[in-house]
């Protein structure tokens, strides 16, 4: 995994110039150190300008107006879809559906595929390390259909228990497997390709939560052979409020629509309606045009830099961060070693609650997240109340890791630890 050949090292200082927000002071004399990328990333000028351009120059509804602005808006909106298709290497633009984000994408699959295909006694396999958005939609559809949700456990080192996964599949009746590509707490990168193969062998479809992976490493849906992939724009330099559901065409074709309304229909009569073609069947109502265009701009931006380079940079960052964090007495980092994870470092500090750590780091200008990170079952499994979490992206530097460590030591001094 460590492609970190020095030649590929990013010109981080130049990249930082692309992000206006990074140049402000957190407070007088204190620069901003943004290490909460797992929650949401910052936006490059290119994306901000794409939004600005749309609203200033060609704001109009898509797919219906026979006028210049509407045509321009439609072209830009659909061009974004093509960019996303190439970005994840989907076979067809029909497989790329705009949603509000990962959560909506996962709920869409649960509510449509789930409702059409699950029955009492069927099994949904999820994992202990999932974000709530990849647990709750399945619990809801299970309640409705009588299906059962089972969870793959994790090993001591924070990786998935693949033996347990195989055993759950072997128990039978598994109709759907759903797993995060990269854990938002442990940083674990799961063997999605192998899991897909095993799921398919068992006759199940596989859904992948790509919220933490698509922004940070090259993701190829054909190579991974996943049936569905959900991810969010705002964690990958794009605006909030837009995300993607990728689904294999044959599956999407067979699925009933979710929300009804404009754009998703072919013919409407008072007695009934027929559905529009993919991908529009799943895009009822006026879509989030501006932010979808922003997502296209973000994809362009990430492509210019290169996803492999971004991954290599983050690998370097997590290597260094883990090395520095582990030298702090009383500090525990959760998850596997740097070779098996992405740029996520969730930790606890003996004698200081995660919430207090986050507050004290914030006073030094450092943004991290504290809490359950929407993964309560995982925290219960780890037997910790809350963790503090630093997450890295293409614009973070070694100097910022040093500041993090220095600030952690300040917190320890203050608390007399």
């Amino acid at each position: 995994m460590s492609i970190a050949s020095k030649k590929m090292t990013l010109d981080v200082e130049r990249i930082r110039q692309d992000f206006p927000i990074l140049h402000q002071e957190h407070s007088a004399g204190v620069p901003l150190v943004y290490l909460d990328n797992g929650a949401s990333s910052q936006k490059p000028i290119k994306v901000i300008e794409a939004l600005n351009d749309y609203y200033r120059r060609y704001n109009a509804n898509v797919h219906r107006g026979i006028h210049k602005l509407s045509e321009e808006a439609t072209t830009a909106y659909e061009a974004s879809r093509d960019k996303v298709q190439r970005f994840i290497n989907a076979n067809s633009r029909r497989e790329v559906i705009f949603t509000r984000g990962t959560t909506e994408s996962l709920n869409l699959v649960a509510q449509t595929w789930g409702r059409a295909n699950l029955k009492s006694g069927d099994v949904i396999v999820s994992t202990v390390m999932e974000h709530h958005s990849n647990i709750v939609p399945w619990q809801m559809i299970a309640l409705e259909t009588g299906a059962i949700v089972k969870y793959v456990s994790i090993l001591e080192d924070g990786t998935l228990n693949m033996e347990n996964y195989r055993a759950l599949l072997a128990d039978g009746n598994v109709k759907l497997v759903t797993v995060t590509h990269m854990s938002n707490v442990l940083g674990t990168i799961n063997p999605v390709n192998e899991m897909a193969r095993l799921a398919h062998d068992a006759g199940a479809v596989i859904v992948v939560d790509g919220a933490q992976s698509v922004p940070h490493l090259p993701v190829d849906v054909i190579e991974l052979d996943v049936d569905f992939l959900a991810f969010s724009g705002h964690k990958m330099c794009a605006p909030t409020g837009v995300g993607i559901l990728f689904g294999k065409e044959a599956l999407l074709e067979a699925m009933p629509p979710w929300m009804g309304g404009g754009d998703m229909i072919e013919i409407v009569t008072l007695n009934g309606s027929t559905w529009n073609d993919l991908p529009y069947k799943f895009e009822a109502g006026t879509p989030n045009i501006a932010d979808a265009i922003g997502l296209g701009a973000a994809v362009d931006y990430l492509n210019e830099i290169g996803m492999a380079q971004i991954q290599a940079h983050e690998q370097e960052m997590i290597d260094y961060a883990l090395e520095r964090l582990e030298e702090v007495p009383g500090l525990t980092v959760y998850g596997p070693d740097a070779t098996q994870k992405g740029g996520v470092a969730a930790f606890t500090l003996q004698g200081i609650h995660a919430h207090d750590i986050a507050q004290l780091l914030d006073a030094d200008g450092i943004a991290v997240r504290a809490g359950h990170h929407c993964a309560m079952p995982l925290h219960q499994h780890l037997n910790v109340g809350a963790t503090a979490r630093a997450t890295f992206y293409l614009y973070n530097t070694h100097a910022e890791v040093d500041k993090l460590i220095e600030s952690i030591y300040n917190a320890k001094t203050l608390f007399g630890e």
């Binding site: 207090d356 507050q359 203050l414």
Partner: protein, 130 residues
């Protein structure tokens, strides 16, 4: 940093009234789901509706723990009604800090525990009076 003044750290590191009262009249758990903090409140109430004894158990950040500890000192010897009249501003006055909205929840976790614990206690008692 201002938030972590000496009196707060003192209460957070050496919380007063730590533990669980058994037996007790009021037994209530209060959670803050956003950060995972929780408090287990147990209290004894005498025949005149005065708080006899209090104990806190649980885990959380320095602010939530210190506020619980400080409130413990305030409520012992007070009537249930007096405790119900304590406001979140009173808790902030005890802590002597200004809090951003996201930390306010930590500060008032113990107050919410007291208020909700007392409310369910009163309800149960009314019902059993029947």
């Amino acid at each position: 940093m201002d938030l972590y003044r000496q009196h707060i750290l003192d209460h957070a590191k050496n919380p007063r009234f730590a533990g669980v009262l058994d037996p007790c009249d009021i037994d209530h758990e209060q959670h803050n789901h956003t950060c995972g903090d929780f408090l287990h409140l147990t209290m004894r109430v005498d025949d005149n509706n005065m708080i006899d004894a209090i104990a806190w158990d649980g885990e959380g950040c320095a602010i939530s723990q210190a506020a619980a500890s400080m409130l413990g000192e305030v409520v012992v010897g007070k009537s249930l009604k007096q405790v119900q009249d304590i406001s979140s501003d009173d808790v902030l006055a005890l802590l002597q800090v200004e809090l951003a909205p996201n930390r306010l929840k930590c500060a008032v976790l113990s107050l919410n525990a007291l208020h909700q614990g007392i409310e369910s206690y009163k309800k149960v008692r009314e019902n059993t009076k029947g």
